[in-house]
Amino acid sequence: MSAVHVAGVSKIFNQGTPKQVDALVDVNLTVEPGEFVSLIGPSGCGKSTLLRLIANLLEPTTGAVTVNGKTAAQSRLDQDYGMAFQQAGLFDWRSVAKNIELPLELKGWDKEKRAARAQEMLELVKLPEFADLMPWQLSGGMQQRIAIARALAAHPPLLLMDEPFGALDEMTREYMQGELLRICAETKTTVVFVTHSIPEAVYLSNRVVVMSPRPGRITEVVNVSLGANRSEDTRAADNFFSGITAVREALRGTHADHANAGAVRGVEDR
């Protein structure tokens, strides 16, 4: 059973009006359990839309989305996935531990069980002594780690991330990428990851799904052959650079019809 199965999905906003937008057209994608898949492409290519369709925050216009063998709607109700956004989005009025407990609270867990799990998650993201602090007392990177802890609190098999490190500085960002790989390896979580950054996509993923806009569609899927054990040394490895080149070429290819597109707009080339 695949973790995510997207079959013949299209998403059209404002259908039949002058403001009609073909956000996604005929998208097919299968993500296997334990896989790390990135969605990359310029603004407007529908990568966030695809993520929200998998999360059942949007309904597809045509086609079907299956998560863990269930309909997307059912797996949302069952909290089969956790989600993290570009803004950590922690609730200011809740302590760090209470923020992590939020999904468990909504599921109706009792207090002791919640507190134990929150502490377990804090240890997973290596902030065990931060339980009683308030979110605004943490740095941006720490807040994002808490957001990941919150997303994984219910031990969902799938993690959906929408540019989670986009607001962080480069140093913190690379550190967070390493941490995310470690956490996913420990928890055996499947990840679908939306990003603007080519190196980030290559460093993290088993496969990079390259998308293009107007209409939003998948143009190429790049397999990354970096193996399971990635470290800071990986960033200097030859096959890391060849992966980056492959993704970059795939992105440029999508722009062949837009003449003279030397650099791909909306995608960070660093």
Partner: protein
């Protein structure tokens, strides 16, 4: 903590300074202002500075310690004013509780149903343009006709209802804005957890609304006091500060300082109500980032 204490001391200091400033201006005008009032460009605009229109501050203050009326059994004014203020305070509190319940419920309803907001909001705005004086006798007569399940409408409840009438509007509008202030990403997060509308309301929307609700509740609190005082005056309800103001105002020619004792009492009443809200604010916001506290 030390910093907070210093800030509180600074605020109290500024408050006292501003009161002293008004007092000085008052007495200064009594010295330089025209005794019989004055005209500027042919318009009577400068108030009279004589002792009937503007009694000295010390006369107002010393009046508190004197008996209310001539006669052997008269109580001292400070006690009468205090009792009147306490009476009105309880009515205003009832009005405030009714008004804020209605205001918050309306705001939640308008957040839940877009059509409610579009249909209801204009009526809420119109409701506030109805003069309170016109409404007061109506409420009294409607209330007087109510007899449901052995419940008879007490006369004072009309005053509270009018207080509620002034309180609910700012509370409804402020709470509505607050409930809608929850960030889209947070709402999406709650959706991703398949949270019910009620869970989203209580775990996200209301906590996010508090910085908007506090100033609205302060307006509502002073609104409830104004509503009760005006209702007391226009319905002739005895026992409250509104009644004292109208009684003492009639005696202003012979005893000009007297009415001010009741006016200050009403002002203190409004401050006390707003103070209650501030107290709730401090308790609710003690763990929030400092920028958002009001």
């Amino acid at each position: 903590m030390n910093k907070q204490l210093r800030r509180a001391a600074y605020r109290t200091g500024m408050f006292l300074v501003s009161i002293a400033l008004v007092a000085v201006l008052w007495e200064l005008y009594k010295v330089v202002g025209p005794e019989k009032g004055g005209k500027l460009f042919g318009v009577a605009i400068l108030p009279r500075s004589n002792d009937t229109a503007m009694p000295h501050l010390w006369e107002m203050l010393s009046r508190y310690a004197e008996p209310e009326m001539r006669g052997p059994h008269s109580r001292q004014i400070w006690l009468v004013v205090l009792q009147g203020a306490w009476f009105s305070f309880r009515l205003a509190l009832v009005g405030f509780v009714i008004g804020s319940s209605i205001g918050v419920a309306l705001a939640a309803l308008m957040t839940r149903f877009k059509t409610m907001e579009r249909g209801l909001l204009p009526y809420l705005v119109v409701s506030q343009t109805v003069p309170l004086i016109a409404l007061a006798p109506l409420v009294v007569s409607w209330g007087g006709k109510l007899h449901i399940f052995g419940f008879t409408w007490p006369r004072w409840l009309s005053a509270s209802v009018l207080g509620a009438f002034l309180a609910f509007f700012p509370i409804a509008v402020g709470t509505l804005r607050g409930l809608k202030s929850a960030p889209a990403a947070s709402l999406e997060l709650m959706d991703s957890y398949a949270a019910s509308w009620k869970q989203t309301l209580f775990k996200l929307r209301f906590p996010a609304a508090i910085p908007y609700m506090v100033p609205a509740f302060k307006l509502g609190a002073s609104g409830s006091v104004i509503g009760v005082v005006v209702a007391e005056i226009s319905t002739g309800l005895k026992g409250g500060i509104g009644r004292l103001i109208i009684e003492y105002a009639r005696q202003a020619t012979g005893d000009p300082a007297k009415v001010f004792t009741a006016v200050f009492g009403a002002a203190g009443l409004g401050l006390a109500m707003a103070g209650l809200v501030t107290l709730a604010d401090v308790l609710l916001m003690r763990n929030r980032p400092k920028e958002t506290t009001t």
